[in-house]
Point group: C2
Chain length 214, copies 2
Amino acid sequence: MRMAELSKASGIPVATIKLYLREPLLPPGERTGPNQSRYGEEHLRRLRLIRGLLEVGGLSVATARDVIDAVDSDLPLAHSFGVAQRAVSANIDPGDIGLEALARIDRLMEGWQVSGDSPGRLAAARVLETFESLGQRDEGSWLSRYAAAALLVAEADLDQVQARGSREAMAETVVIGTVLGDALLSGLRRAAQEHVSRLRHPVPSELDRPPTRE
Amino acid sequence: MRMAELSKASGIPVATIKLYLREPLLPPGERTGPNQSRYGEEHLRRLRLIRGLLEVGGLSVATARDVIDAVDSDLPLAHSFGVAQRAVSANIDPGDIGLEALARIDRLMEGWQVSGDSPGRLAAARVLETFESLGQRDEGSWLSRYAAAALLVAEADLDQVQARGSREAMAETVVIGTVLGDALLSGLRRAAQEHVSRLRHPVPSELDRPPTRE
């Protein structure tokens, strides 16, 4: 297809596509004349990935290019996924986190294959530190139940990724799923809290409405 | 204790405590002279709740006051929790969300006691809409496994809340736990994704180091 058709099919303006070609985030089309190129399905797929990286992931163009390079490389999938996942995770300096909190998170993740500079490991340790600095503490099994739930969700995430066909589509799902999955889990968790709270502390039905005066 | 001691015990500057007294977020102490009051343990506890609301929850003073009023009221616990939880959740206009996405989230939460304007329900439906608008779809059981994990986490959250003693301490844990729990889960989820990804797509050990030239 021509540039105008690629724009129509992707919903992305021609000027934006040209910008992606210059960066380059998008590989050039096949030259068919001095001022004309032909684009294929692979360009459409790549445009979808680019939009996911920039719009959902909120990445800079340079970081998006790193992710795309990892996807295009023939490195093992876990490696490409790692690059994509790190790109959409907060960058935390390990030196900012206490060793005690890191050790507790490591005990929590015992048996997990996680690298020392994993953004998730650092983020979890930082939360634990903040939690305790506010006078809260793990009452029994709060942390370990969170770890168990995280493992369930990660299994579902990887199944979701593997159901896609190409490396490109998989990386797209890694990025979109990582960002949107956080928000989905946060929303469902609030709804589930409301449910469990109502089960445990039933609200008399007359209090579910504004009180009336007699 | 006197104001200066309250400040020392709480780590909050006197000027800030005076501001909380004026708002009022903090109830007055017991007058012991024309320019002197005495404060007790309940003031320390309340200061902790205020800090949780303002610093962790990121609430405005007016919203923090609404939460404190709900905690101080004799409304059922589920009601106070609801006020605290809503205060730290994004405010979403139900009109902005498609009925189809809402219906799918409701099917997912079948049997849950969740009100129609639950911020969690609306947030989850909005994520689903975004996810699908990006060409992603639920491959089998992604959504239902997320809902199951959210329920596990919510049970852990409520156990954590109930282990606290007073209504005030419970509300504090609702707010802090809601905000920090999202971040904890997000971190653990990333670490678990790395683990599951490495299990499924082993990275040859020579690729775990930077390549060397011969």
